[in-house]
Symmetry: C2
Subunit: 312 residues, 2 copies
């Protein structure tokens, strides 16, 4: 058992002191380019670290998306390591969005990579994918919890293609997604004020899904805040749980480029820098101009709790 | 469109010339330690590169498991880059076992990382996870195919916990896993002799699953070779497809430590090296002793095709 305080307790404190903001660090090549930076590991580093320094000073949680770092190979992962360190140094919790999911010693290796004591890229929590069954993730959850860390399990995502897996029915009549939420809630039983195992539930109503999503909601009495909605302009609500056992929910972005869009340059900045060689273009970031702080942190997410048992 | 030949065609040639062997490179910490190497990036590198040099000279496909490299952070990914290069230089195809799965620009970033033209860690194919729906993977498949590469989609894995997702039923009565297989087969329609989109189906009959698996099989007239069975000692069979459109199947290991077990030191070697400092222990590998070639390549897998449509 780590001497680190339990993740759920640390999350509750972070949200109490900084608000429920979870800021995505999604260094899409298009964003790197829009900043006048080269689309390589050096441009990734300048963009991602600048964004992290600004956002981690304010947000309770910073959520880097691993894919955008992996696409630059080992050099990109080195940048991810620095992003995680920088965010932690600035006092934010780090939710690393990796969506890993495997079994046995392979899942143990992912656990060792990200949420075990002594992890190589030590996040406070990671996202995980339950296609191989929620049970395949339980040892990861146990190891994370004992290290003072957590996991967020994909349950019901907002993309329309997801229904073909997540809304499939189990013999007991529940959907796959509902069973994931129930399993997460069971692991959190008795944890106050928050457990260490969260679920990922998006709420964008995709074309053709409105009816079914509405039905899910009406049955639940609980609504999840939708991805893509803006901080300060809530398009839904996420109600704090009242039961003793609680599952946390983090909404996610349907398009990664939206993650740090509040940190994106204005059209004027983009136009000014367009004609200059990459090395000569102004780098916006902490202390360099109007982008010191995100003025309209566009597509960040909120993190909260839902009552358990909770129907989605 | 890349000038690289289509993945399915390259796979068919590789199997025809080298046999249907897919050798796992699963550098579990326990294996690294058993070789008298330090459990760090340097030990990982010596173990994984030695195993790759030996196995890639013989196997049609080498399958590194990303988790065991990720657990050493950026330094581990640097080793993974070298493993991929080494395997390709030795004439083997590389199936990188990463089980990624996401949507939109995030999935595009994973695609850019591994299977697009100019990929940072350019595998010939990767494993992907369909929890966000098979449709979320189709752009990845299209990009991979146009680059002469492929994907293998998780469908029905052998671990007992998987049934709670993969055997869930869709409104049309099919299981989630069956729908994945059908979708892969549809993408392969018309491809000869093999398509570029495979599926992962394990065949270990777990306790309590025997009845349902047997039923699945009897309906199919097709059996999948089970993970954990030995090369040359087939515990099942994988029949070549007869239909024009074919989905490929690769069986996987339930425990990653089994991946390169044919390359593991004998008990005698382990005992001999146990008392020596790590730096002084003999490193078995190409040209260094009895482990030049895998004498009983323990838990490797076979790759083949199944007829489409195929019931699993």
């Amino acid at each position: 058992m780590s001497t680190r305080e339990r993740f759920g307790a640390r999350l509750a404190k972070a949200v109490a002191s900084r608000g429920p903001l979870c800021a995505g660090i999604d260094p899409h090549p298009g964003l790197i380019e829009a900043w006048g930076l080269p689309v390589d590991a050096s441009g990734l580093e300048r963009f991602a670290l600048s964004a992290t320094e600004v956002l981690a000073a304010r947000a309770a949680i910073v959520k880097p998306q691993s894919a955008f770092f992996e696409s630059f190979g080992a050099a990109g992962i080195r940048v991810l390591e620095r992003v995680v360190e920088t965010a932690r140094d600035a006092g934010a919790l780090v939710l690393l969005d990796v969506k890993r999911g495997d079994i046995g010693s392979t899942m143990a290796a992912y656990t060792a990579a990200y949420v075990a004591d002594g992890a190589a890229i030590a996040a406070d929590a990671i996202t995980v994918s339950p296609y191989l069954g929620f049970g395949s993730l339980e040892q990861c959850a146990a190891t994370a919890v004992s290290a003072g860390r957590g996991i967020f399990v994909l349950a019901r995502t907002s993309n329309p293609e997801a229904a073909a897996v997540q809304n499939a029915k189990l013999p007991d009549g529940r959907t796959v997604a509902q069973a994931i939420v129930d399993s997460a809630a069971a692991l959190n039983a008795g944890a106050e004020p928050l457990g260490d195992v969260g679920v990922v539930v998006g709420a964008t109503i995709a074309p053709g899904e409105a009816r079914s999503r509405a039905a899910e909601r009406s049955g639940a009495g609980t609504r999840f805040r939708g991805p893509g909605s803006h901080c300060g302009r809530s398009s839904g609500d996420l109600r704090a749980g009242t039961a003793g056992s609680a599952a946390r929910v983090v909404s996610r972005h349907p398009e990664a480029r939206s993650g740090a869009s509040g940190f994106a340059p204005s059209g004027r900045t983009r136009r000014r820098s367009a004609g200059r060689p990459a090395g000569k273009r102004p780098i916006a970031g902490p202390g360099t101009g109007p982008h010191q702080a995100p003025p309209h942190c566009g597509r960040c997410s909120r993190v909260g709790t839902v009552a358990s048992p909770t129907q989605i």
